[in-house]
C-alpha cells in the first residue's frame, strides 16, 4: 500500500522534472516552435491512445470510432470559448462531459456486439458524428470552425495528460479495472464471477470517450481553425496504431506508442514521400518481431530497471 503511494510519488516527481526541463527549453527557445507544437501533439496523442487503450486494450472491446469522440470534445470546447466566452477549463470539462455522454449513449446498444461487428459499428458511428458536424452550419460546417482563441499550450497539455494517466492508471488497478480486464480475458467466466459485463463495458467506453473529448478540446484550441476533416476514421486508425504499437493493455505502451508515432512523423516531415513507407515498414517489422507491441502488458513501474533504480526508496 505504501509502496503504491511511493511509486505514484516517484512517477509524479519524475514527470514534473521532465515537465520543468521541457518548459524551460521551450521558454528559452532552445526548442523551436516546431518542436513545441510536436510536444503538444504528443501530449494530445498520449491522452487519445491511453483512453482508447482502456476500451480496446483493457476491456477488449474493439472500437474504431475514437476520433468521433475527439471531434465532439473539440467542437463543444470551441463553442464554449468562442460563442459563450467561458474559461478554457470549463470548455474542457464540457467537452469531456458531452463526449462521455455520447459514448454512454452509443456504447449501450453497440457493446452488445462483439469483435469485428463492434469495430464496424463504432467506425460507422464515428463517421456519423463527423458528418453531422460537417452539416451543422452553427459550427461552420465542412469549411470548419474559424476564429478560435488559442488557449492550448504545453503546460495545459502536459498537466492534463498527467491527470489522465493518473485517473486511468488508478482505474485499471482497481476492482473496477480488474472487472474490465476479466471481460477481455473471458467474458463468460467474468460474468460467472459476479461481474456485470454490460455495465463495465459501457463504463470503460464512457470513460474512454470522455478523455477523448478532453484531448479533442485541447486539440481544438491549438489552432485558429478546426475542420471535420481532422476527425476521419483515418485519425481513429492512427490512434489505434499507437495503442497496438505500444501494447494493448499497457499504459506505458500507449505513451511510448503515441510518442514514437508522432516523433517519426515529425522527424520525417521534410520527406513526406518517405514518411508513409518508413511508418508502414516500422509497423510490419513490429508485428513480425513483437506482435504484442513494444511493452505487451508490462508497465514501467513493474519492470526490473525501475525497481533497481528505486530499490533504496522502497527499503527505507
Amino acid at each position: 500500500m505504501n509502496l503504491l503511494r511511493k511509486n505514484d510519488l516517484i512517477m509524479l516527481g519524475l514527470s514534473l522534472v521532465i515537465f520543468a526541463i521541457l518548459q524551460v527549453l521551450i521558454t528559452t527557445k532552445v526548442l523551436t516552435s516546431f518542436w513545441e507544437l510536436n510536444l503538444i501533439i504528443i501530449g494530445i496523442n498520449v491522452i487519445m491512445a491511453v483512453s482508447l487503450n482502456l476500451i480496446n486494450g483493457y476491456t477488449g472491446q474493439f472500437s474504431l470510432g475514437h476520433a468521433g469522440f475527439m471531434a465532439v470534445g473539440a467542437y463543444t470546447g470551441v463553442v464554449m470559448t468562442t460563442f459563450f466566452h467561458l474559461p478554457f477549463i470549463v470548455a474542457i470539462i464540457a467537452g469531456a462531459v458531452l463526449a462521455g455522454l455520447l459514448g454512454f449513449l452509443i456504447g449501450l446498444p453497440t457493446l452488445r456486439l462483439r469483435g469485428d461487428y463492434l469495430a464496424i459499428a463504432t467506425l460507422g458511428l464515428g463517421e456519423i458524428i463527423r458528418i453531422v458536424i460537417m452539416n451543422l452550419d452553427y459550427v461552420g460546417g465542412a469549411a470548419g470552425f474559424k476564429g478560435i482563441t488559442h488557449h492550448t499550450n504545453f503546460a495545459w497539455v502536459f498537466l492534463i495528460m498527467l491527470f489522465t494517466l493518473f485517473v486511468i492508471k488508478n482505474f485499471v488497478n482497481s476492482s473496477h479495472g480488474r472487472a474490465c480486464i476479466a471481460i477481455r480475458e473471458n467474458e463468460i467466466a467474468a460474468e460467472a464471477m459476479g461481474i456485470n459485463t454490460t455495465k463495465y463495458k459501457v463504463m470503460a467506453f464512457t470513460i474512454g470517450a470522455a478523455f477523448a473529448g478532453v484531448a479533442g478540446c485541447l486539440f481544438g484550441h491549438n489552432f485558429y481553425i478546426i475542420s471535420p476533416g481532422s476527425f476521419t476514421f483515418l485519425a481513429s486508425f492512427n490512434y489505434l496504431i499507437m495503442v497496438v504499437m505500444g501494447g494493448l493493455g499497457s499504459i506505458t505502451g500507449s505513451i511510448a506508442g503515441a510518442f514514437v508515432v508522432t516523433f517519426i512523423s515529425a522527424v520525417l516531415a521534410p520527406w513526406p514521400e518517405f514518411r508513409m513507407i518508413i511508418y508502414a515498414l516500422a509497423l510490419i517489422l513490429l508485428m513480425f518481431y513483437r506482435p504484442q507491441g513494444l511493452f505487451g502488458y508490462m508497465e514501467v513501474t513493474s519492470m526490473g530497471i525501475f525497481r533497481r533504480i528505486f530499490k533504496r526508496g522502497h527499503e527505507s
Binding site: 485517473v167 480486464i181 476479466a182 480475458e185 464471477m193
Partner: protein
Amino acid sequence: MSEVLLKAENVSIVFGGLKAVSDFDFYINKGELIGLIGPNGAGKTTAFNLITGVYQPTTGSIEFAGKSIVGKKPYEITQRGIARTFQNIRLFSELTVLDNVKIAFHSHVKYGLAETVFRVGRYFSEEKQIEEESMKLLKIFKLDGHAYDQAKNLPYGAQRRLEIARALAAKPKLLLLDEPAAGMNPQETKELMEMISWIRKEFGLTVLLIEHDMSLVMGICERIYVLEYGMIIANGTPKEIQENPEVIRAYLGGEA
C-alpha cells in the same frame, strides 16, 4: 428438517426441437454435498447452466434461498451466492494466478469509482484485504507458490484447483463444480476429494458437483441425482444409486 437452499421444479429447456432437460425436479438442503451424474450428453452441464442463469428455462421455477432466480443474469445469481467452475477450464489465462482470484472478489468490493480514481477512502484498506484473502485461498489450494505466474502456465491439475479457488473468492453459499476431477490422475483425484470435503466444512458450503469419476462421487456425496436424456431417473444415497436397476441400465446398457 434442514433448510432447502436450492429448489428446482418442473424445469425444462428446449433447444429447437430438442428437449435438453425436461421436468427437472430437485432440491438441495443447506450444507449438503450432492452429486449429479449421468452418461455423456444427459444434460448435466445444461442443468448447471440453467441454475447459473446462462440459459433461461423454457418452463419451471428455480428458487435459491427462498427467492426465484429465473430470469436473473449470471452475475446477479453469483452475487446472490452461487459460484461455479467450468467443465472446460475458463481461467483468465493471461493474468496472474493472484489476479484470477482477486477478480472474483468483485461483488464484495465496496469502494466506489471516485475512491478508485483518486485513491482515497476505502481503496487501500479494501485492496489490502482482498490481497490477503486471495493469498489465503491460494495457500489452501497449494497455489501460493505460483501466485505471480500466468494462469495459463500452470499444470492442468493446478488450473482446476485455481478454478475452485476463484469460485470460492466470490464467497458463495452454494458451489457448483462441473467435473472438477476431469483429467486428473487417481492421486490428484484423491487429494481433490479431501480438499472438497475440507473446504465444505471450513467455509460452511453447500456443494453440487457433476462428475464422471465414480470413486469420487460415491466417496464424498451424500445424495446423488442421476440424469439420462434430460430426465432424472434416480435420486438417493450412493448405496441406493449403485443398486438401482435403472441406473445400471443407463450406464451399462441392456434391455429395458
